[in-house]
């Protein structure tokens, strides 16, 4: 039956249909995309010091070695810690909901809200690479260009956000028999 809200005409559902299935599908896609995002270079720089391909982890390491530990930490949080937190947290939520668990319902709901809130900050590296490539266009001194890793990383952000948005937190509180 198709019930709709009399005020805004959105469909009224008791629970989001196929919530866990969609969440799991997007989560798997996110984990799969995360592998090339880290293995492939995200940026190619060429200049007086020669040519170089850099990966996300390589970039963090470079900042750390150069003494910019704060930037290294920021990029580490946005590009490594946030995606991993999302993978683990969504995995945990799916596992417990599938098992009909009543364990820590309150904390799991909070965990869901944290995942929702931190999701889009991972876009940081995509923006930094794009801005760097736009600015470093000096034929003599140096140029920077994006490389495929950044497209995979962008896909990770979008797909993990879709995964979190597909999850219906009300399932945590349901007592199904």
């Amino acid at each position: 039956m198709d019930r709709r809200c009399p005020r805004c005409q959105s469909r009224i559902e008791h629970r989001t249909p196929f919530s866990t299935e969609m969440t799991l599908a997007w989560l798997i896609a996110g984990i799969v995309f995360y592998i090339p995002a880290n293995l492939l270079p995200v940026m190619h720089t060429s200049g007086l010091l020669g040519e170089e391909d850099s990966t996300i982890l390589g970039g963090i390491f470079e900042f750390w070695r150069a003494g910019d530990w704060d930037i290294a930490l920021l990029i580490f949080i946005a590009s490594v810690a946030v995606p991993f937190t999302k993978f683990i947290a969504i995995g945990l939520l799916l596992f417990t909901v599938r098992r009909n668990s009543r364990w820590q319902q309150h904390q799991r709901t909070t965990l869901y809200r944290i995942v929702e809130f931190i999701g889009y900050w991972s876009m940081l590296d995509v923006i930094v690479v794009a801005l760097t490539s736009a600015l470093m266009q000096f034929q003599m001194l140096g140029t920077a260009e994006p490389r495929p890793g950044i497209a995979f990383f962008c896909a990770v952000v979008v797909v993990t956000m879709l995964s979190a948005l597909s999850f219906d937190p009300r399932l945590i509180w349901d007592r199904r028999t």
């Binding site: 910019d68 930037i71 889009y120 900050w121 794009a130 497209a151 952000v157 509180w173």
Partner: protein
């Protein structure tokens, strides 16, 4: 009879009570925010939307960052950043960036303007229902604040190598982030309640 509120995270049902300035209603079972005090009038909302539109225009028309080496200057703002990602199939990232930092904020500002303009005239705007649903749907996808942080990281990253300066655009982005946060705080659910004339 007070209206009914349903927690979006755990489905607990409540009777709403009037909120005073600064009040936030939390779900007793799961701590989700049920409702916030909403002091904005249609007029102040409209003023904020106009401010957002102006800041958005400035951010897109002026450079956010620029580098000047011996008279050769490069500039960057949202569109330059998007264009630099347009290479072969990496363009999917350009699409993602354009969508989240340009298209979504632009659509949100335009739709809120449309809704509030009609509310100011005391009329129900054409397409009110679909517009409110679209505003609700697009909420998680606006990434203006992430772009601001990205610009700051780019400054620190490149400052060791080249003379990089921040332009007017970066202030516009910062102001846009603040105004959109003020407007976003009042989620569409609150906008339903401010204009009795536009309700069904």
């Amino acid at each position: 009879m007070n209206p009914i509120l349903i927690c979006r995270d755990c489905d607990t049902v409540y009777r709403a009570i009037p909120l005073r300035r600064g009040d936030v209603a939390l779900c007793r079972r799961c701590d989700a925010v049920l409702a916030r005090y909403f002091g904005a009038s249609v007029e102040s909302g409209l003023a904020l939307v106009c401010a957002a539109a102006i800041f958005f225009a400035i951010a897109n028309l002026t450079p956010i960052l620029s580098i000047d080496i011996a008279g050769i200057e490069t500039k960057a703002n949202i569109w330059f950043a998007v264009r630099s990602l347009q290479q072969g199939w990496i363009s999917v990232a350009a699409f993602g960036l354009a969508f989240t930092t340009f298209l979504i904020p632009a659509v949100q500002i335009a739709l809120l303007f449309w809704v509030l303009l009609f509310a100011r005239l005391g009329r129900r705007p054409p397409g009110f229902g679909p517009i409110m649903r679209l505003l609700h749907r697009t909420r998680p996808w606006s990434m203006t604040e992430v772009f601001l942080l990205g610009a700051l990281v780019a400054i620190v990253k490149l400052a060791n190598w080249v003379p990089i300066t921040a332009g007017v655009g970066i202030w516009a982005i910062a102001a846009l982030t603040a105004v959109l946060a003020l407007l976003g705080r009042c989620d569409p659910a609150s906008w339903w309640s401010i204009a009795p004339a536009v309700k069904t």
